[in-house]
Symmetry: C2
Subunit: 229 residues, 2 copies
Amino acid sequence: MSIQAIAFDAYGTLFDVYSIGELAERLFPGQGPALAALWRDKQIEYSRLRTMCATYKPFWEVTQDALVFSCKKLGLDLTLDAQNALMGQYAKLKAFPENLGVLQALQQMGLKLAILSNGNPQMLDSAAEAAGMRDVFHHILSVDAVKKFKPAPEAYQLAPDVFGLSPRSILFVSSNGWDVCGATWFGYTTFWVNRAAAPLEELGVAPDATGPDMNALLQFVQQRNGAAK
Amino acid sequence: MSIQAIAFDAYGTLFDVYSIGELAERLFPGQGPALAALWRDKQIEYSRLRTMCATYKPFWEVTQDALVFSCKKLGLDLTLDAQNALMGQYAKLKAFPENLGVLQALQQMGLKLAILSNGNPQMLDSAAEAAGMRDVFHHILSVDAVKKFKPAPEAYQLAPDVFGLSPRSILFVSSNGWDVCGATWFGYTTFWVNRAAAPLEELGVAPDATGPDMNALLQFVQQRNGAAK
């Protein structure tokens, strides 16, 4: 089956969150990597706990809560200035270098493109704007519409609904192993941008394809759709 | 409202998982703490992903998957012997030293006691047996009955159902911050055995009481039920 549309995860997939760790290190010398890692873990953990317990709140707030906890846990004094600076990074993340070119090439192939992210709409709009990507996406889909974070099926359902396509004819792309597993369970065709060369999650499910960056994704789509013709 | 029954989390609350880290260090010198921490994180992560995506499998298998992934991630060669030894620890965990005495005192107060755990029935039976606790519990409740892991409400519902009591009249006890938060959201009266002196999770909810060990729990129940008479 040929790919007719592509839905992209945002953070770590389209947008490089590396600058957050850099700023954390400037603010808390020697603790930057530990803070960035714990913050990310807690952000994801809180999103899952709130989904499982039906206590949703927007990703921006979840992210802020995760930052506050992480600093307490590491014994770091989080001033309001530091908090604002760290949270502010989310509005000005850089895209990975190859991304814009790949997105434009996919668009020129006639594919419809969307973001499908846990981020809330304002966060995603700012990030897409800052990365110069606003025009390549037909839709910027936030799980805020269903008040459940990925990997809840209701969150993944957003793209099939908006495109009017079956999950299998949509390619879901993420750099997060758990996200591609969730999307594969859901029924998408999936591509794992495994930038960190991580092992596959042991969840009894595997993405349709894996590559080290978005160039590999472009190749996969060209082959897949070429072969399907 | 007086407490009429108590439901206990198992791992880290009743049973000390410290020996797992010790064995990990013997098997993989220098990597024990990292392996034990990642293994625990992945175990919990997989339980949540499988609950959110309705792909439940028993905790024993989830735990094994988490161990396999963790070793791959850390570049450790997990032989079948090492895997069996590490998994086997779950059948022979020690109880924390004060636990049995506290459980017996609570039982003598006329309270009904249960375990309510993500572990599957066989794991819990072995652990309770090995810790000499089989006789103090009226019920050993496994989420396996509902095929959803904590903090899913369906998992917490097991104790009110079996006791025929309202959640608020049951005290839920856990050493895991996320678990007491989930239980509080659910409606239990809650006590956090904060053995690690960790900060409270930033989830906008707090347990009814917190203490450093199970002796503090006993005190809380004595005061609560004394005051309620």
